[in-house]
């Protein structure tokens, strides 16, 4: 090749090279403007979905593109594909799909998580549909008749079921009925018979563990006057630490183990689900809980199962599991001390308020002093508030170290409810029944006797003015000492 030829070759290839650099620049600016990431391979089948829905529901598609599913090549049809025999299958643009992706569908790849979830109480959340709470939503607050939606109470549809989950019904058109869907309640009963909804915590379509690990995810449902876990967490030192050091939490790390990937603070997930060095992550949220704080009288979490003759993980083992998490930041003595304090609070609630009030109400219902209709008398609401609202607040507050919830939103209001509302109302109802001289008069007399026995117990004596002189004296002495200690002069 002559010298001139070589020079020409250099210029030609050089021009090609410069053009390629222009392409590089275009790619770079494209990335910067649209924030696009590396190309994702989509199966041919799902490509059509992506193309159309990029226009129809662009955010949905972008959220999926940001997900780990997209990076791993899991696209639309991998989750939404349905068999023609599926009860919720329908024909959409030439494809047989189902809109609801149930935990059974997710278990194709996430079998372990689904197995743990199905064994948990989260999966049973829709059990509420058979409970007293549902009577409230369907009858007391709402209506299933002329004001109902397909025979369901709008209060339940928009309220209770959105957290607890609906029973999804398929209408004549092959689509879920509007009363039962949309619904992503965590205990949803799906058309394929499976329980639950993974998207309740792992919001679609990004399904990011960052969202699931965020306390706000739990807080969608675990909040409010009857179980203010979110508010309690935020008032506790744990929640304060999380707020202060959120940037160090590495919420997107995988694995995500307290004490290893992050050490700044615990979240809900940290204690109740996530991995430690010794424990792997579990989707059975009951595995680290020792008390059941839900019912009128708290019992250990394995009590029901033991009564039913079922073998489950013992409450002692579950407490050990939880202590394993605590031990990442706290010494054993500290943790043990906390549990002693916590147990004493539950014991106080049970013995002073839960057991007595429940016994009274049971007697009154059985003996006809209270009508068989739920919530038609003030006393029933009083009792409900006592255990379901204030009583739970006191117990939950103690369980997660929020002293104000334990005291002022808790035991203070429990006490007020009990002494100033429950006791007088019981007395009034019984006296009415006795005055009527009907069938329930005898029960009413027994109830009053029982109430008297309760109020004469050591913890209630003060109410009757019967505090012992010894106790009075020691209380007075303590008050004097503190006055002296904190005197202004």
């Amino acid at each position: 090749m002559s010298l001139n030829a070589k020079k020409i070759v250099i210029v030609v290839i050089g021009l090609f090279f410069l053009c390629s650099l222009l392409i590089i620049g275009a790619i770079e600016s494209n990335k910067r403007v649209l924030g696009k990431k590396a190309t994702i391979k989509v199966s041919a089948v799902s490509k059509n979905c992506v193309e159309c829905h990029s226009v129809k529901s662009p955010s949905l598609v972008e959220q999926w593109r940001d997900s780990m599913h997209a990076i791993r090549g899991v696209a639309c049809m991998d989750c939404h594909e349905a068999l023609k025999t599926d009860v919720d299958a329908w024909e959409h643009e030439g494809y047989t799909i189902a809109v609801i992706v149930s935990p059974k569908d997710c278990s194709k790849c996430h079998a372990q998580e689904n197995k743990e979830f199905q064994e948990s109480h989260h999966a049973d959340a829709a059990k509420i549909i058979g409970s007293l709470d549902n009577v409230l939503a369907e009858v007391v607050e709402g209506n299933t008749g002329r004001l109902g939606l397909d025979g369901n109470s709008p209060a339940a549809i928009n309220g209770c079921w959105q957290c607890h989950g609906s029973v999804v019904k398929i209408g004549k058109d092959g689509r879920p009925t509007p009363a039962t869907w949309p619904n992503t309640g965590i205990g949803r009963i799906n058309p394929d018979g499976s329980k639950g909804s993974c998207t309740a915590c792992h919001s679609r379509h990004t399904f990011s563990p960052v969202v699931a690990r965020q306390p706000d995810s739990c807080g969608k449902c675990h909040m409010g006057p009857d179980h203010p876990q979110k508010e309690i967490y935020e008032a506790s030192k744990h929640g304060i630490a999380f707020k202060a050091f959120k940037e160090y939490m590495k919420l997107d790390a995988q694995p995500w183990r307290v004490g290893i990937e992050y050490t700044a603070a615990p979240t809900c997930a940290t204690c109740h689900m996530s991995a430690t060095q010794e424990q792997s992550v579990t989707h059975d949220v009951g595995r680290r809980i020792s008390w059941n704080l839900r019912p009128p009288i708290s019992e250990k979490i394995d009590a029901k199962a033991i009564k039913a003759g079922k073998a489950v993980e013992s409450w002692e083992q579950r407490r050990k599991n939880m202590k394993n998490v605590c031990s990442k930041c706290h010494s054993d003595k500290y943790v043990d001390g906390f549990y002693i304090q916590f147990d004493s609070a539950i014991n106080l609630y049970n013995e002073k308020y839960g057991i007595p009030s429940t016994k009274i109400i049971k007697m009154m219902k059985a003996g006809g002093v209270l009508t068989p209709t739920a919530f038609d008398e003030e006393l029933e609401w009083t009792y409900f508030y006592l255990w379901h609202h204030e009583g739970r607040r006191a117990r939950h507050g103690a369980s997660m170290m929020a002293p104000d919830y334990t005291q002022w939103h808790g035991f203070f209001e429990v006490a007020e409810r009990f002494y100033i509302h429950f006791v007088p109302q019981v007395k009034e109802a019984c006296e009415k029944a006795i005055h009527k001289k009907g069938e329930s008069a005898a029960t009413a007399k027994e109830v009053l006797k029982e109430l008297d026995t309760i109020l004469n117990k050591e913890e209630h004596k003060w109410f009757l003015g019967k505090m012992s002189s010894d106790e009075k004296a020691s209380r007075k002495a303590a008050a004097e000492e503190f006055k002296k200690r904190y005197a202004q002069n």
Binding site: L3, K6, I13, S20, I23, K37, Q254
Partner: protein
Amino acid sequence: MPIPKLNFLLKWTKERIPVDVQDLKSISNEPVPNHLKHWWFALGGTPAILFCIQIVTGIFLLFYYVPTPTEAYDSVTKITHEVRFGWYIRSIHKWASELMIVTVMLHMSRVYFTGAYRKPRELNWMVGVIILFVTLGLAFTGYSLTYDQLSYWAAVVGTEIAESTPLVGPLAADFIRGGQEISGNTLTRLYVFHIVIFPAALAGLVVLHIIFVRLQGVTQFEFERERRSRHRTYPLFPDHILTEAILGILILYLLTMMAIIFPAGLGDRADPLMTPEHIKPEWYFFASFRWLKLTNVYIGVIGQIFFVGVIIAWPFIDRIFENKFPKAELSVWIGILGFSFYLILTIWEALV
């Protein structure tokens, strides 16, 4: 006609750096033998150009890479997705490394099949073989730095193979790992090998390699057509330099196109607690990997050490063959056999 200001500048420089430009030109304008006009003789310069590209792109990557187990993967992700043109630099670096290994092997084949390793060039051949292994070492250590699943586990398997070497295995593995098991030390160590030890060694070896070539001259031999030409050489400046320039710009263009069409990707974050189902090294180790799978650990490792020994000592082995069987051209046949064996094992591993 030089402008007055330029004259002044030249005079100013010459008074302070007394070098005669004309002398310099005549010293360095070494006549280049005609056969170098054949393009497959440019295979030696190509890896050198690629090495320079690797150093430049490597330094840019160094600005953002963090060599700790917790930060490495994130820093590579940052380079790929956030840093301006980071994906381009990283893709160039990746493809240039693959191309460098290919061209070093091709150059080695060219030298082998043209018998350019024979006396008096045996020492240069051995320097070249060491260059090949340092290049492979650079590739291995560089690949381990991304700290994704494949890269981490490839490093684990690599150190385990090293460990199974008889006698020196455990010591060698401890040295590579920085301890008895893979830890933060390992990544730091591989990092130091990749950015300091191997590049410095390679630079020194390449300089030595070129010195040898200049001392001994490029192997002189000619083809039928060239015997008729009057001149047996052609000038380094500007002819051969332009050839090298064509090569350089062609490489840059090719690498850029590879970066556009096949940008460097990243697998899952390395998880020491989760062994992936299929661990595979990079393609240049496929033959070695397949060989180890076919044989037991002793034949596998010792066999490869033997193979390497034969390659290094080849000029001397070849001399024995030449003396015993002068016309048979055994070296060509053995070369074809050896190369085919490497190719077959590589393709086998790739397909299975």
